[in-house]
């Protein structure tokens, strides 16, 4: 088990009005993302708990790219990872931001 955080500053508030959303499952090769609108609009935070150790640099690259792509101001992401590949992580993160935009 490995745990770490990536913090970012954002240009704008993430869209939508939902306070909270969950997507995915913590299963082998998959991951669960909990998103909460709990931070100031200029900040975001990704908390990662992963079953697989030693991929810290790739995680950081995946998360940085995601933050640049979506600028999710105000959102805190908590990831429970079961050893998902980077492409799956990116997809889930993108889906979670979209879910926050949907009507609750």
């Amino acid at each position: 088990m490995e745990q770490f955080q990536v913090r970012g500053t954002t240009e704008r508030r993430a869209g939508g009005n939902r306070d909270r959303a969950v997507i995915g499952v913590n299963a082998s090769g998959n991951l669960e993302v909990l998103v909460e609108r709990v931070l100031p609009d200029s900040e975001c935070l990704v908390d990662v708990a992963t079953a697989v150790t030693g991929f810290g640099r790739i995680w950081e690259a995946v998360i940085q790219e995601f933050l640049e792509r979506t600028s999710p101001g105000g959102l805190k992401f908590s990831i429970n990872d079961g050893g998902a590949r980077p492409d799956t992580v990116t997809l889930r993160l993108l889906q979670s931001v979209r879910l926050m935009e949907d009507e609750a």
């Binding site: 492409d87 889906q95 949907d102």
Partner: protein, 548 residues
């Protein structure tokens, strides 16, 4: 001076006479097969032991691998597939020495070991029609050991839906004074249809067990991932729709199975029915059943058959090529030719892609062979008929004189950035380069050459290589969709953004694709059982795919 112009016919008669001692007419009892083969085969012969990626002359393979190597040796094996253990035993036991083939899927690792150990002298790895072409040029078989479902006493053969390579092998062998031996499941008074005429068949053996067929083209929808669905959505919207691709071939991977299962759902939402994917050169993929049942597909010609699909295809003769007897007629040579000259697009997966877009399925220690992909996935320079898709691809790639512009085939590689165990699918150098050096090949095995590839689709986006004008642009276009692999992380971010502005790289958001829509709910069938239901119970799924 007298010249003998009939040495081959004389030789054939001698062998036939010797062999007929073990036959009753053309029929040979199965226990006499070994002595028959030892009689009609001579050391050094070129032998085609029928077997491809689907059906196998498995009984004849077992018997040939058991002949006395002091009598039969130094055979030159010229066949589509090295698939069975018996095929490798021929070389291990010293019965065969030289090999020219096309496909080796499951035996890829064993084949590489045998080559390294010097047990096999390799001629070349071919595409299917390339090997067939050589049957008529410099690799004509002396003896063909073939397989069919039924024979009558005159040797007329019924192959059933798995006709595949048989007519081509028999044509080359029988009309060049070779000998044709067939294994069949049954002897009948009258065959349902004549797939191979009896006068081209010399000996027939009924086997105890029916011949083996591999269900190679069955993909369980339950295993399709959301990223594969996302890639399939991008391909449909960004390629099929944009070029109006009507005539095509699909490879066997999960991403293309996802495309097949999205036609009646996502394709329908986009209003594409009748505008794309109407005519196919394709094996009978069970995953295409929902699209067929929804009226998307006008016609399909097949290389071979697929386990469990027989009744469904018989009941859909408007779509498939079906004989008057009611069963499918497949033909690998004809279908490969259709794929080469009459398809506007090939889309398939591979195992590795390099920075020039070259792809290979030869990864460390595995010689998987080529099968049909290099033929399907190449631009046919002999093509002369235009279609809108072919002309559009041509326009995108052509900077020369517009009056003399030629079209281009769309050759699409659809491959996620990472494979099994986090192995990157995008690499600086293909594994096959080192393998070719180690095994002293004259030619590095390349599945599809980069200059034939028009698009690469990953979960990160589509790279349109037709629009690239320099090798540097091409490299950045590939890096720009290679995700978090080393190759992808080595991108020049500014160059990639510039390519994106020119539409050379397109992300899901550039195509208006919502990542939330990339859900398994979008698949028209989410399990093998759903496919059975779609078929109205006509599709009989093989037992290894049944979990109900």
């Amino acid at each position: 001076m007298l010249t003998d112009w009939e040495k081959q016919r004389t030789e054939r008669r001698t062998r036939l006479e010797a062999g007929s001692r073990y036959a009753n007419g053309k029929l040979v009892a199965s226990e006499k097969t070994k002595v028959l083969l030892e009689t009609v085969i001579r050391p050094g012969d070129r032998i085609c032991l029928e077997g491809d990626n689907q059906k196998q002359a498995d009984f004849l393979a077992e018997v040939l691998a058991s002949v006395d190597p002091s009598r039969i040796h130094d055979l030159h094996i010229v066949q589509s597939g090295i698939v069975l253990q018996a095929h490798l035993d021929l070389f291990e036991r010293g019965i065969a020495r030289k090999l020219d083939f096309s496909y080796s899927g499951p035996q890829g690792a064993a084949l590489a070991r045998a080559l390294t150990a010097g047990k096999i002298e390799l001629g070349a790895v071919h595409t299917y029609i390339e090997l067939f072409a050589r049957y008529f040029m410099d690799l004509t078989p002396h003896v063909a050991l073939i397989v069919a479902r039924q024979a009558d006493r005159d040797g007329n053969l019924y192959t059933g839906p798995n006709t595949e390579d048989t007519p081509t092998i028999v044509e080359a062998t029988a009309f060049k004074s070779g000998i044709v031996v067939a294994q069949v499941n049954e002897i009948v008074d009258k065959v349902p249809r004549v797939d191979i005429a009896g006068d081209q068949v010399d000996f027939v053996i009924r086997t105890e067990k029916p011949f083996y067929v591999e269900p190679l083209f069955t993909r369980d929808p339950a295993s399709i991932t959301e990223n594969q669905i996302l890639m399939a959505m991008m391909a449909i919207k960004g390629i099929y729709a944009e070029y109006g691709v009507k005539r095509l071939n699909h490879g066997i991977g999960f991403p293309t199975a996802a495309i097949e299962l999205l036609l009646p759902t996502y394709g329908e939402q986009l209003g594409l029915k009748g505008k794309i994917a109407t005519h196919w050169a394709l094996n009978p993929h069970p995953s295409l059943i929902p699209a067929i049942e929804s009226g998307w597909v006008q016609q399909i010609h097949s290389f071979g058959s697929e386990v469990g699909m027989d009744d469904y295809m018989s009941a859909r003769s408007d779509v498939y090529f079906v004989g008057d007897d009611g069963s499918l007629r497949s033909n690998r040579l004809m279908c490969q030719t259709a794929g080469l000259y009459a398809c506007d697009m090939f889309i398939g997966s591979t195992l590795q892609i390099d920075l020039e877009g070259n792809s290979s399925t030869f990864t460390s220690g595995r010689i998987a062979g080529f099968g049909g992909a290099p033929n399907m996935g190449s631009d046919a320079h002999g093509r002369r008929h235009p279609t809108p898709a072919w002309l559009k691809a041509g326009r995108e790639s052509w900077d020369g004189d517009r009056k003399l512009m030629r079209g281009r085939k769309l050759v699409v590689q659809i491959l996620e950035t990472f494979g099994e165990k986090m192995a990157p699918n995008y690499v600086e150098t293909l594994d096959s380069v080192a393998m070719a050096e180690k095994l002293k090949f004259d030619l590095v095995p390349v599945m599809i050459y980069g200059d034939d590839v028009s698009h690469i689709v990953t979960e990160e986006g589509i790279a349109n290589l037709l629009l690239c004008r320099t090798s540097a642009e091409r490299e950045q276009a590939i890096r720009g969709v290679a995700g978090f692999t080393d190759v992808g992380r080595g991108r020049d971010r500014k160059a990639v953004e510039a390519l994106r502005r020119r539409g050379i790289i397109r992300r899901p958001e550039d195509l208006g694709i919502d990542p939330l829509a990339a859900s398994r709910q979008l698949l028209a069938a989410r399990s093998i059982k759903d496919l059975v239901t779609w078929s109205g119970g006509l599709y009989q799924a093989p037992s290894k795919f049944r979990n109900w």
